[in-house]
């Protein structure tokens, strides 16, 4: 099992979600997040005072998939979330030891 964490532009969330459903991914968790990478935020002015806003709003999608779904899932995210401009986000991939469905104690891939 593979965990995929993708940090995205909030405006791309709906498109990515639809692409994932189309790719056969059934479950996901979405978090509202703030952060920045190399993209350094922007400047705001309030009554002449300058404020640098370096933490920008982002969304983070977390999903755990079977090993064979990995490439399909990644392609779905990348192809829909990419604008080619700075700030498109990042994807992190890690291995998952086990999974449990709380309702009936199913374990492993059947719990996904």
């Amino acid at each position: 099992m593979i965990k995929i964490e993708a940090i995205l532009q909030p405006s791309k969330l709906d498109a990515v979600k639809d692409a994932l459903l189309e790719a056969g991914i059934e479950g996901m968790t979405i978090l509202e997040a703030r952060g920045h990478g190399r993209q350094k935020g922007h400047t705001e002015f309030y009554r002449g005072r300058e404020y640098t806003v370096d933490l920008l709003p982002k969304v983070k999608i977390e999903l755990v998939v079977k090993d064979e779904q990995k490439e399909k899932t990644l392609q779905a995210i990348i192809s829909t979330a990419r604008t080619g401009r700075i700030g498109d986000g990042k994807i992190f991939i890690s291995k998952i030891d086990d999974a449990i469905r709380i309702r009936n104690d199913e374990r492993g891939e059947t719990a996904l």
Partner: protein, 483 residues
């Protein structure tokens, strides 16, 4: 029939026609003989008196309707207007604390006003402060009295409640300077005392019977033009705001930490409510539904528009973008500056006053504040102190006797009022009013701050300040999206 008889008949007919016409017309000629009896004269006199009374009652009803509406509009300026305007400008952990400051004034000043405040401001007393004859509103008539000094066409009780709304908003304006760091208890004591010891004397001097600066008092030493409270409301609150933020010091982390407004939307709504409520503030100060009220209404609106433009232009050049906060701040600056002038100047002068106020107040907030580095958190001084002072000065420049003939000669003909009429010495009266307002605000505020600081301590602890006033002072939160 002979020819002669026919001529006679024709002559008779010609004579008869007009007399018939006269007979059907109402008899407008006076009765030829019988002089009017005493009874007839008495009846006419009675009808005349009844007519006069009915006219006075009709005017009183019209004026009273406008004045009660105006009083409600002025209350709308404090809550929700000012509460939203200031509430949006603070960080979200302080929104309830900030809104509660305005709301506390709506309650506390009302109680004080009913017991002693109105008497101190509008009782007879001397040239500086009223007396105690209206304690508990004793002797404030509920019926309109043409002999009343303040309000010949409306009940003095209406005048009292209208003036109360001014007394409420004035201390509430100061809250902008010490936002996010004063204890609720200290705020309640400080501003309650302030309304008695700074606001009441100033209101008496400018509007009270026998007041030193009252331009409708023929014996005033320095008749200063202040139609709706440029000195009484805005200079006193703005200057006291400056003194308070200097005395209390900056918020923790100012100016390094980011402290930008948490909701421009709330501030925007608040500022628009202030604009609407201000029609009651300024046009209501005509104390009747008169043409002077129309004049004040128009001036208020015009100056607000140009001041928003002035601030926006300044900001556009300064930062490269016209912000919503700039536009609404400019509008409030214009409302402040036109307040003393609204019932004295012509509409084109109002456009000029607004534009100048928009430029000047944005300059004060952008340049002067950062130069000196004081933490006037929501710019109560930059908008109300600076705008009020500029407005009071420009009132002396632009006051026109065609709008409001304040000065009259012995025969009742209007004399020049402001500089634009050629009466430049009015500027001395204006400067006296401004100087007195600054003086009483600085001294009164400083004494009260020291007193309250000794009594309960002005400032919340460092922990409470970083936690926010909502939780530390009130035990609740403005926003809880989790529940």
């Amino acid at each position: 029939m002979s020819r002669r008889a026919l001529q006679l008949l024709l002559l008779f007919a010609l004579l008869a026609v007009p007399s018939v016409a006269l007979a059907v017309a109402p008899d407008i000629s006076p009765a030829p003989s019988a002089p009017a009896t005493q009874a007839q004269i008495a009846a006419l006199q009675q009808a005349l008196d009844a007519n006069k009374a009915a006219t006075a009652a009709a005017q009183s009803a019209g004026d009273n309707a406008w004045m009660l509406t105006s009083a409600a509009l002025v209350l709308l300026m404090t809550g929700p207007g000012l509460a939203l305007f200031y509430g949006g400008l603070v960080r979200k952990k302080n929104i309830l604390g900030t809104m509660m400051q305005s709301f506390a004034m709506m309650c506390l000043v009302t109680i004080l006003w009913a017991i002693v405040g109105y008497s101190l401001a509008f009782g007879h007393g001397n040239a500086f402060i009223g007396g105690f004859e209206h304690l508990f509103l004793k002797g404030v008539p509920i019926a309109a009295d043409p002999q009343n000094f303040y309000s010949p066409t409306i009940p003095e009780q209406t005048y009292m409640i209208y003036q109360l709304m001014f007394a409420i908003i004035t201390p509430a304006l100061i809250c902008g300077a010490f936002a996010e760091r004063m204890k609720f208890s200290a705020m309640a004591i400080f501003l309650s005392l302030w309304s008695l010891f700074v606001y009441c004397p100033m209101a008496h001097m400018v509007w009270g019977v026998g007041g030193l600066l009252n331009s409708s008092n023929p014996h005033a030493a320095f008749p200063s033009f202040d139609f709706a409270g440029g000195t009484v409301v805005h200079i006193t609150s703005g200057v006291s705001a400056l003194v308070t933020c200097l005395y209390m010091g900056k918020r923790i982390g100012y100016p390094q930490t980011k402290m930008q407004p948490h909701s421009m939307v709330l501030s925007f709504i608040g500022a628009c409510l202030l604009w609407v409520g201000w029609f009651g503030f300024n046009a209501g100060s005509a104390l009747g539904a008169s043409s002077l009220a129309t004049s004040a209404f128009i001036n208020t609106h015009f100056a607000t528009a140009t001041a928003a433009l002035g601030w926006t232009i300044f900001e556009w050049f300064h930062n490269g973008k016209p912000t919503a906060l700039g536009a609404i701040s400019g509008a409030v600056a214009g409302l402040v500056a036109i307040t003393p002038a609204s019932g004295f100047v012509q509409p084109m002068s109002a456009l000029v006053i607004g534009l100048l106020a928009g430029f000047f107040c944005s300059f004060m907030v952008f340049k002067v504040k950062s130069f000196f580095g004081y933490d006037d958190s929501l710019d109560a001084f930059g908008v109300h102190g600076a705008g009020g002072t500029v407005g009071a000065l420009l009132t002396g420049v632009f006051a026109a006797s065609v709008i409001n003939p304040v000065y009259k000669d012995a025969a009742g003909n209007p004399l020049p009022s402001g500089g634009i009429d050629g009466h430049w010495s009015q500027m001395l009266n204006q400067l006296t009013g401004i100087g007195l307002a600054w003086g009483i605000s600085i001294v009164g505020t400083l004494v009260l701050l020291v007193f309250v600081d000794k009594l309960v301590g002005l400032r919340v602890s460092k922990e409470d300040e970083s936690e926010g006033l909502d939780l530390s002072q009130h035990g609740e939160e403005g926003y809880d999206f989790a529940s």
